[in-house]
Assembly symmetry: D2
Homo-oligomer: 326 residues x 4
Amino acid sequence: MPIPAPNLYPPFNIIRLSHVDYGVRDLAASKAFYVDTLGLQITDEDDTAVYLRAMEERGHHCVVLHKSDAPHVKALSFKVFDEDQLDKAHDWFMAQGHAVTWVERSFQGRTLATTDCFGMPIEFFFRMDRLAPIHQKYALYKGVKPLRIDHFNCFAPDVDKAVGFYNEIGFRVTEYTEDEESKRLWAAWTHRKGGVHDIAFTNGTGPRLHHTAFWVPTPLNIIDLCDLMSTTGYLANIERGPGRHGISNAFFLYVRDPDGHRIEIYCSDYQTVDPDLEAIKWDLKDPQRQTLWGAPAPRSWFEEGSLFEGLEPVASTLGASPIIAP
Amino acid sequence: MPIPAPNLYPPFNIIRLSHVDYGVRDLAASKAFYVDTLGLQITDEDDTAVYLRAMEERGHHCVVLHKSDAPHVKALSFKVFDEDQLDKAHDWFMAQGHAVTWVERSFQGRTLATTDCFGMPIEFFFRMDRLAPIHQKYALYKGVKPLRIDHFNCFAPDVDKAVGFYNEIGFRVTEYTEDEESKRLWAAWTHRKGGVHDIAFTNGTGPRLHHTAFWVPTPLNIIDLCDLMSTTGYLANIERGPGRHGISNAFFLYVRDPDGHRIEIYCSDYQTVDPDLEAIKWDLKDPQRQTLWGAPAPRSWFEEGSLFEGLEPVASTLGASPIIAP
Amino acid sequence: MPIPAPNLYPPFNIIRLSHVDYGVRDLAASKAFYVDTLGLQITDEDDTAVYLRAMEERGHHCVVLHKSDAPHVKALSFKVFDEDQLDKAHDWFMAQGHAVTWVERSFQGRTLATTDCFGMPIEFFFRMDRLAPIHQKYALYKGVKPLRIDHFNCFAPDVDKAVGFYNEIGFRVTEYTEDEESKRLWAAWTHRKGGVHDIAFTNGTGPRLHHTAFWVPTPLNIIDLCDLMSTTGYLANIERGPGRHGISNAFFLYVRDPDGHRIEIYCSDYQTVDPDLEAIKWDLKDPQRQTLWGAPAPRSWFEEGSLFEGLEPVASTLGASPIIAP
Amino acid sequence: MPIPAPNLYPPFNIIRLSHVDYGVRDLAASKAFYVDTLGLQITDEDDTAVYLRAMEERGHHCVVLHKSDAPHVKALSFKVFDEDQLDKAHDWFMAQGHAVTWVERSFQGRTLATTDCFGMPIEFFFRMDRLAPIHQKYALYKGVKPLRIDHFNCFAPDVDKAVGFYNEIGFRVTEYTEDEESKRLWAAWTHRKGGVHDIAFTNGTGPRLHHTAFWVPTPLNIIDLCDLMSTTGYLANIERGPGRHGISNAFFLYVRDPDGHRIEIYCSDYQTVDPDLEAIKWDLKDPQRQTLWGAPAPRSWFEEGSLFEGLEPVASTLGASPIIAP
Ligand SMILES: [Ca+2]
Ligand SMILES: [Fe+2]
Ligand SMILES: [Fe+2]
Ligand SMILES: [Fe+2]
Ligand SMILES: [Fe+2]
């Protein structure tokens, strides 16, 4: 099944991914990880939640940590182009039979909560509190010096279906992996903001969140983080990497937070603003697809992911299999 | 005069800057500079012209060098979102009283030639030959390893007028410098593609092209280029830098090609896709505006620029003055 | 068994490791690897041998490749402080009952060939042809941009014996690994030139050469090499890394040449000129000893090494075992 | 006047430069600079003095800051190979007619205080308190992440005389600048520890300390420091750079501490352990001598330096002049 032509005039205009809301069991432990180790900046906190932004962001938050009995993901959030797009989104989702609700979210304006084609909770908003720039306050930089949230990556039980849905609302495929036998999609990377992806999908029991990624400028940031984590008690939290993906050309590191939520640190992708950008096709059996070079991914990387709150994932129907480290 | 509110629904949709066409006196000398030293890749050449692309680009060219008796710039070119935008652009420019012509350009589809508010030649197109990706052909990387064209910077005799015009066609201001006395703009950075700028304007005799910039990922690329140029006969071609601008946060180097055309190598700017991004205002008298740190710019940097073919620049009416190296 | 006190007044003065002479089956294939990929510079070549130096070296060669029916290592060579040291070395080795011969070596002065405590061929010289500096000829830099040969690492069937021997001739231990049960040495790093090592020894069937290492200034050089090798047909030649060793703090990559000789690219160690530098002790069971972070070493890395010409290695008597990747 | 042949068997064995003792007027201000900004680690402090070490050092201190009414330098200190060398040094200096005293220095063993050929206070010791390694305590790294003290650079009123003296006690010249007209030395770089220099001399009113340098592994450390200093109130303390010297190939930055003492941050030099290393000669009129590339040095860099306590410097008799920034 080929990937669909991009929908250049989607029903409403999503600008970019915005933030993720993680349920975590121990706020102090999570702060030690996200703030002291990764280097995100606290923009608000109380006993139940911590709001974080990366160094070049002006929006109030790219990560929300809320205290929770069990680890989960509350929702993935996206920023739209203006207030009108929220109403267009509302009407489109309703017309498609998805539940829609206007919800209150701290530090945000009108927020539309709905679900994607798998029931995965997604939210849309336009207004979020804007903060003064800190990208030139170099004394604040620490940890991996994260500059901005870059993308979400989700397990999907049917990647063809995911691409169909997200393509319809304007996400454009930049790279994809096809199973040569079934001609079905194994994975796809789709964007709105002009990078390789805002959200990607990988075949597997889903919907589950595989990881949230942050962008850093150079591989040295990632090596600094490895040095720091391996000497401050976080060695076991380094799950995979560093290495380079064939897909997206990203130099990457995957780490796990204290609740097991997976965070990718990421650099070296490319600009994709051209509407006629040709998606790059990879064969599932190409070992350089996953790893242009570097150690193979461990089994946990293929199998584990964060559950969405109250949502039972379902198994994929596609039985093909990538190369897993022994 | 404050900067205008961004025009979020412009008359036609420009995606990004695309390429510059330089007139050069000695194609061989220019190739030695752009190909062997900077590391751009030749995509086509004959006795009269050389076409170049950067490492992550799939479009056929970001620089055209054409043999010419005198150095000049033929035009600055921009890519639009689809073919319809060309017709909308044609009609809008005609309605505004700008001369419009459909011109033939090698390796491109329909191309609209017109002028901006100062008579500066600008061109629009949607289709350009698309080439296979080379960003993972690491054996081809050399010189500064340029990844993509990033922006143009032009001298304008009236920056308020420039911002008025480009804002109307959708360029959004990200940072600007105001002369505190006259309240007029000294300089402005405006974007379409989600970086700090596609095109910027600086007060001065114009229109002239101050520089074309290429994006590299790390300051080490720039230091490598300094090492290479300073030991291969190009020391005098290094005009300014490396250093960091306050504006845009860019780590920069300015070099001059064999005809004096100025090229910037550039990294460390930030993502600007939010339509509600607040422009950052700088005072003309703030020395960290030009140079967060690093040696002050030499006089040539403030005064010299490339002429557009057949176009006589005019002096600016704004007499304010930035800080120039002694 | 504790490590011995350093012999600060050894019988003769070795300055540093100098070069390795590899037997290779296909000179063209080896040149493609060492010159085009690693970036060593050819200083002499004919049909039977190629001489190479790294970018900051003034001595004629740090690697000799000689055509050979089978891969092997001819000898490991060391530079002494002056001509007198050669005579002192000659007399000392003879007094210890080691065979000594004055041999002819191209581009070198008087050269003493002898053997170490395992019969491993080692050579000493003072004079080698001196070449003009090229470290500022930046146009010559390519591949991993190797600056200098850094160290040898050898399998030894008895590391305590190796340390006893090399310590006596002035090599000082900087770090070592002890088997906590037997109190015997598993591995040791010893230096003359003021870095972590000129020669190291690891428990195993020996004598065999585990690897020769080259020094580069930053991890980015190593990442560049991974990118290059993984896209030019050398992916399978990347054996281990990148990662950071606990021991020596080195950021490392291990690659295999076309004959299987192992080359390490290495940075981030530290200065060790203090005669009272305390050696750092590591426990064999400490997983961060081998790998502060990064994927575990593959089995080949523990088991494979280059044979010395005409020398049959013997098994180690120490049965302890480090952590091997599954 | 040619440089003398190196004295390979000097009267006593100096290992390396060790530390500098600066008089500073405000300990708190100096701590903010050396600790919070540069990133040196405090190893001891009280109301009158602060002791500092760099990240890979095991000796107790490389910088001592002592409270003083006026800025000055108390002495430059060197570590010798063993206790016997102290006695040999004592006897040699006494025989040469230099005043010698055994002095008490905190955290050090026997310490010999004497003067060089210009009366400049220099001290020698072998024992200093040894501290546990911190080079793998990555959470401690900050500022420019200085790894070790690298060298001193002094104004000398007669560089030929300086080279004569220091050469006699074993310092070997690696690079030098000659005034082509007078054939006198303008500057020289001399080493003991195997880098380009432990101590260098530049023509000028002296003896004065031009700067103390710290070694970092990559230019990115230096750029990080520029970013930090330029946004934390230290912009005016950045005096020169970054850039690359022709001499030594160093990538450099010069900053001034709160009392005006000059500190260099430095990387990219090369290994010099070969006793037959040929010194590199530069012409005083070669502009790439001082600056392979980068902005020219400001006048302050040529003229200002730290006084030694109680020592009146004298003017140089060599009137030649290098290239100074306008
Ligand atoms: Ca709150
Ligand atoms: Fe990702
Ligand atoms: Fe620019
Ligand atoms: Fe090694
Ligand atoms: Fe220096």
